[in-house]
């Protein structure tokens, strides 16, 4: 297990990581998700020992690698001694060494017999399906093959922790899908403790056992993928995930529901008596809204709003509507559903959703 306590790092005047706490459970894939420039790579570099933190402690398997030990001076264990694997965002294979020698490089520091180095390298080449490329140089491989070799080089030393920094960004577009599946397979097979950095929501959802969202220099929220993608606990996370965010006021209890008002328009939320009379934030996922031309009678959709479509944004598989229901609200459907609906800008439609998908938290 990796434990990070009150970690801080600034570059000159600019504070990048402030008082960050995080636990990375053993034999799990934890995805560190955050927008570009949120300090993800900085955090990885501190965990790896390549960058010393300004303050705070880092433990790898209960072993202090950064921080103050009682009565002694500051601990800063060298990268090599941390027994980690690190796959960088840009492919970092040694260009003057063949793939075989790249993968064997770390093994040669471990005081192993020549036979053992050879067996482990050959096995690893086979594991990442690069046996045929053992004697080629990195620049003769595709981006995806190179990144697989880089992963092999990190895994072959059997590290206690694997750090992956946007591992897919170096892969050429037509190979991304295969590479993702391969990577998922490696991580599932090896059950190695992994911290996986990305800014891509789909990738995070696909790879993660746990997700930690990094924003404003600290961890905004942690949880399993379903939790994170359905119930953001802060405006930052809701915003990052593309949720609708509304300032609202909790009014009172009614029929087992909480009445909340957005710009004086009442909505039904799940009951939480602690919130009555307070200023709150409502968030709702665009995918959780249903659009229809007739009022929904389904009792589950107990919120029904009538509004006008002001914007339609279409991609290959989804359509996002912006509907003015007294305030603008975004709703997302599949492109097929949109076709069946047959609506256009200026049309009046009903937007319906259940109280269950409306997230409520106190305004900070």
């Amino acid at each position: 297990m990796i434990k990070i306590e009150s970690l801080s790092k600034a570059f000159g005047e600019k504070s990048v990581i402030t008082n960050l706490n995080l636990e990375i459970p053993k034999n799990n894939v934890t995805v560190l998700l955050g927008p570009n420039g949120s300090g993800k790579t900085t955090l990885l570099n501190m965990i790896s020992g390549l960058l010393p933190p300004d303050r705070g402690r880092i433990y790898i398997n209960n072993h202090l690698v950064n921080g103050d030990k009682k009565g002694t001076k500051t601990v800063n264990v060298k990268p090599f001694e941390r027994k980690i694997g690190y796959v960088f965002q840009s492919v970092s294979l040694f260009p003057h060494m063949k793939i075989y020698d790249n993968i064997a490089y770390g093994l040669k520091s471990l005081h192993l017999s020549k036979a053992e180095i050879k067996t482990r390298t050959i096995n690893m080449l086979e594991f990442v399906d690069l046996t045929d490329f053992a004697q080629t140089y990195p620049n003769q491989l595709s981006g995806g093959q190179q990144q697989r070799a880089a992963i092999a080089r990190s895994l072959v030393t059997e590290p206690q922790l694997l750090l992956l920094d946007e591992p897919i960004s170096a892969v050429d577009p037509q190979h991304i899908e295969t590479f993702r599946l391969d990577l998922k397979k490696y991580l599932q097979t090896l059950k190695i403790t992994t911290l996986y950095v990305t800014h891509n929501l789909n990738e995070a959802f696909m790879m993660a056992d746990n997700i930690a969202i990094l924003g404003n220099g600290h961890i905004e929220q942690t949880g399993n993928p379903t939790e994170i993608f359905n119930t953001p606990k802060s405006t930052f996370v809701a915003n990052f995930l593309g949720f609708n965010i509304f300032k609202a006021k909790a009014v009172k209890e009614q029929n087992g529901y909480l009445i909340v008002k957005v710009k004086n328009i009442p909505l039904l939320a799940m009951l939480d008596l602690n919130l009555t009379e307070k200023n709150i934030i409502l968030t709702i996922k665009p995918e959780d809204l249903t659009i229809s031309t007739e009022k929904q009678t389904n009792h589950k959709s107990n919120n029904n709003l009538l509004g006008t479509i002001t914007e339609i944004e279409q991609t290959l598989s989804t359509t996002q509507f912006t509907i003015d229901v007294g305030f603008p609200i975004k709703a997302k459907t599949t492109t097929t559903a949109t076709k069946n609906l047959g609506v256009t800008i200026g049309d009046r439609v009903y937007v319906s959703f259940s109280s269950e998908v409306l997230n409520v938290f106190l305004e900070k």
Binding site: P79, F80, R82, P95, Y105, G106, Y137
Partner: protein
């Protein structure tokens, strides 16, 4: 826009004028390039035209020529070895460390590149000659430098080694940091990172810098003449011999010149090939 026949005519006229202008400028440029090429190539060609190539073996037997070639090879190789010994560690240090006064040292190392060789020669003279700055020291040790072969080596090293420092510095500076970070995670030994990553990645730059340094040492004239003198067999290198033979044995001088031209070409080709080579090619 409305197209009237008149307007179209006008446009055609205009485009004809601009076409003509284009052609004129283009011809002008070709002319400049041609003049320049001739200006650079003609002197080289003239040497070959003047020299009777069938006489090579004859001139190669001239004792003065043999001595000059031997001395040039001998001194330039020593100067190159000394340069490697001094410039590789220095270049690495300058490329990888930050320290106070680094900019001054950088400038100092670039200075010999632009310093007139005659100035370098007189500066060396005032340092190493018996009445120079270090004269008393060498006198007390019973060593005389100026006028001896060692002076040739010193002059060549002084003038040529900055080429190597530059190349080495660039070779180490332009390395991808991520490669070093990767290596630091995979091995705990800084020496191993240096010898397996940093040095091999800088090797092309070091080799091409070495070749350039050697070529510069072979061609050194001014500093050698001022500092070491022009004594046959002792300090008379090929360029000095060419100078000496100008009025006495022109043909031998031309032959030495042809050898030096060939070396220059070979050096440029080697450097260009090194720049183009990618790992894993020409197996």
């Amino acid at each position: 826009m409305i197209y009237t026949p008149n307007r179209q005519l006008q446009q055609n006229k205009q485009s004809k004028i601009s076409q003509l202008a284009d052609k004129t400028v283009f011809t002008f440029f070709i002319l400049i390039v041609a003049i320049y090429v001739i200006f650079l190539a003609l002197p080289l060609v003239s040497i070959f035209l003047e020299f009777d190539l069938t006489q090579i073996s004859l001139h190669l037997q001239t004792p003065e020529v043999i001595d000059a070639i031997k001395l040039s090879l001998y001194t330039s190789l020593i100067a190159t070895c000394v340069s490697i010994f001094l410039a590789v560690p220095t270049g690495y240090f300058l490329a990888t460390r930050k320290f106070y006064g680094k900019a001054i040292i950088d400038t100092l190392f670039d200075l010999p590149l632009v310093l007139p060789p005659a100035v370098a020669g007189i500066a060396l003279l005032y340092t190493f000659a018996p009445r120079g700055l270090l004269g008393p020291l060498f006198n007390s040790l019973g060593i005389t430098i100026s006028g001896y072969t060692i002076a040739v080596v010193i002059a060549e090293t002084f003038v040529a080694s900055p080429f190597l420092i530059r190349a080495v510095k660039i070779g180490f500076e332009n390395q991808n940091r991520t490669l070093h970070d990767s290596a630091k995670i995979l091995t705990g030994s800084r020496l191993r990172v240096f010898f397996t990553i940093s040095l091999p990645l800088a090797m092309r730059a070091i080799i091409s810098g070495t070749v350039m340094t050697w070529a510069r040492a072979m061609g050194e004239f001014g500093a050698t003449l001022m500092f070491a003198g022009n004594l046959p067999r002792i300090t008379q290198t090929m360029p000095l011999a060419i100078y000496n033979m100008l009025y006495t044995d022109t043909a031998s001088g031309l032959m030495l010149a042809i050898i030096l031209i060939s070396i220059s070409f070979a050096v440029i080709i080697i450097v260009k090939l090194l720049e183009q080579k990618r790992y894993g090619e020409h197996k």
